[in-house]
């Protein structure tokens, strides 16, 4: 019997369950802390800038901010889950256990990515839920909003897995978060319209993967976004596929989990 793409359903579900169980055991750290940070952003930025024009008729700054914050929450949570999981397994000396399970590589990758995705969507939805007190519960396209958060979380869970495989300690992971993910998030349109930035800073949107993700969420939430939604959706789908393929390639090569 050849090794198959899907081989061990119970094994896959157990690994996925472990990834979810692990962060649910420490909800204050993994869910509540980012939620509180996002509520603070809402209070501070929203409170200070609520009269600011966002260039879209009938849309207040608070309405503009909600999908950005939900996306940002999803990005950080989904990235951190697999990255932390892989690095802590290296730290705990259990990373090579992964090689001993009769679970296919695709199942292993999906378990880590889905675990991160679940956490990302959870934080994104809770952020949205918390903002109901400020802006009400109305969402223009609720299912599309959920799909946008899911796609964002899938992309960043895949990136988190890549980083977790490639790096060997938490300092490096935090460094990657601080110098890559955080600036890209701030320059991705979470808090303001990128087109209003001067010169080169505005041009970053063309290479920033967060830009289409934020705009898809924003379109789903308020029905309008910066740029063309069709292009954003196509870019989002391309990001979902390419991030997964890169993670699969690195995992298959055994980076961080096998010795060659």
């Amino acid at each position: 019997m050849k090794n198959r793409i899907f081989y061990n359903r119970i094994g896959f579900l157990t690994l996925l369950n472990k990834e979810i169980h692990r962060f649910m055991k420490v909800p204050v750290q993994t869910v509540l802390a980012p939620l509180i940070a996002n509520i603070l952003y809402m209070l501070i930025f929203g409170g200070m800038l609520q009269t600011r024009e966002v260039g879209i008729e009938g849309i207040s700054y608070l309405n503009f901010l909600v999908p950005g914050l939900a996306t940002m929450g999803a990005i950080f949570a989904s990235f951190q889950n697999p990255a932390f999981s892989m690095i802590s397994q290296k730290f705990q000396n259990t990373i090579q256990d992964l090689n001993s399970y009769p679970i296919s590589i695709t199942e292993k990758i999906l378990a880590f990515v889905f675990g991160g995705m679940f956490r990302g969507v959870l934080v994104g939805l809770l952020t949205y839920a918390a903002t109901i007190f400020f802006v009400g519960y109305e969402v223009e396209y609720p299912l599309f909003f959920l799909l946008a958060l899911t796609a964002t979380s899938f992309v960043f869970a895949s990136l988190g897995l890549i980083v977790g495989l490639a790096l060997d300690n938490f300092e490096k992971m935090n460094f990657a978060l601080a110098i890559i993910i955080t600036p890209l998030t701030y320059l991705g349109g979470v808090f303001f319209e990128i087109s209003k930035l001067p010169g080169i800073l505005s041009a970053i949107k063309y290479i920033n993967p967060i830009y289409p993700l934020v705009n898809v969420s924003r379109y789903a939430y308020i029905g309008v976004c910066e740029g063309n939604i069709v292009i954003h959706v196509i870019l989002t789908m391309a990001l979902v596929i390419s991030a997964f393929l890169v993670a699969a390639h690195i995992f298959k090569k055994g980076v961080g989990i096998k010795t060659v």
């Binding site: 090794n3 359903r9 579900l13 000396n93 989990i257």
Partner: protein, 301 residues
């Protein structure tokens, strides 16, 4: 059950050749010791079987399945107890064993987990977090973890390192019972007396090559032609008084004990010569060399 054919492994880092053309066949129900110095290649070989290290060339087959073509099938057949006592900080013993069963596709494994925990004296600790267990308990937990899917082959990489003597003997008893129940066991250890006590076959690796592979008794017979005779006397001894035994390498230990080395066929000759000299001794012990002596003898050559 396990076939290793022409397996070599060169680590890319440092271009170090850890295994050189290893050939080994282990049949069902064997209890084999894999011995060797640090860096000899034992752990590399085990890590290849576990899927942690990619071999450079050669063929490995486990339970009839090729490691290259049917890797997932081979995982179900082996259980690995690693040298490092890595453990998950978050989960309890029970949670970790349930998850381990799940990874192997077993949904409800409570009855067998109970059985394994009891056999390894861990029942009382099932609700404890693994990080709160003592070193010896963690070792036993790792054995339990390797057994939850009832592997046909159990590979133990120095399972008793750092374990106190009493617990070590508990583990020996457990392994003997496991072997009697039909599990094929491969054990690497630095405690040679452990291999001598438990294993029926000895494989010695040195410099990445197998330099000895024999049933234990045959190996010991082949490499232990001389017995050690120790004769104790009441008074202090003078080596010159034993010139008549010079063929047997006389040597004085602690002033009153004479040690000689003689082959089996010369034993009676030695006793006769001692009697003829009317030497009154207080004790006499003939010791067959231990596996440790045989091992050192092989390694040195």
């Amino acid at each position: 059950m396990l076939s290793i054919k022409d397996v070599s492994m060169t680590y890319k880092k440092g271009n170090k050749e850890a295994l050189k053309n290893i050939n080994l066949k282990i049949e069902e129900g064997e209890f084999t010791a894999l011995l060797g110095q640090n860096g000899a290649g034992k752990s590399t070989l085990i890590n290849i079987l576990a899927g942690n290290v990619k071999k450079t060339r050669g063929e490995v087959s486990i339970g009839g399945y090729s490691l290259d073509r049917n890797e997932l099938e081979t995982k179900k057949i082996i259980g690995i107890v690693p040298q490092e006592t890595g453990y998950d900080f978050v989960f309890t013993v029970d949670e970790a064993l349930k998850k381990q069963s799940g990874y192997f596709g077993i949904k409800d494994n409570k009855a067998y987990i109970d059985e394994v925990l009891e056999a390894l004296y861990l029942t009382e600790k099932r609700s404890a977090r693994i990080r709160d267990l003592s070193g010896g308990m963690r070792r036993r937990f790792l054995i339990a973890k390797a057994l939850v899917h009832k592997p046909k082959i159990l590979i133990l990489d120095e399972p008793t390192a750092g374990v106190d003597i009493e617990m070590r003997h508990t583990l020996y008893d457990f392994l003997v019972k496991l072997h009697e129940s039909g599990t094929t066991i491969i054990l690497t250890t630095h405690y040679i007396e452990e291999a001598e006590k438990l294993c029926k076959r000895i494989v010695i690796i040195d410099g990445g090559k197998i330099i000895a592979d024999e049933p234990k008794e045959e190996l010991m017979d082949a490499f232990s032609r001389e017995s050690i005779i120790e004769v104790s006397f009441e008074d202090e001894l003078n080596l010159a008084d034993f010139d008549f035994l010079s063929d047997y390498h006389p040597h004085i230990e602690d002033k009153t004990r004479l040690q000689l080395k003689a082959s089996k066929k010369d034993l009676s000759k030695v006793f006769r010569q001692l009697s003829e000299k009317n030497m009154e001794f207080t004790n006499l012990v003939v010791e067959r060399p231990k596996l440790e002596d045989v091992y050192l003898n092989i390694i040195k050559h």
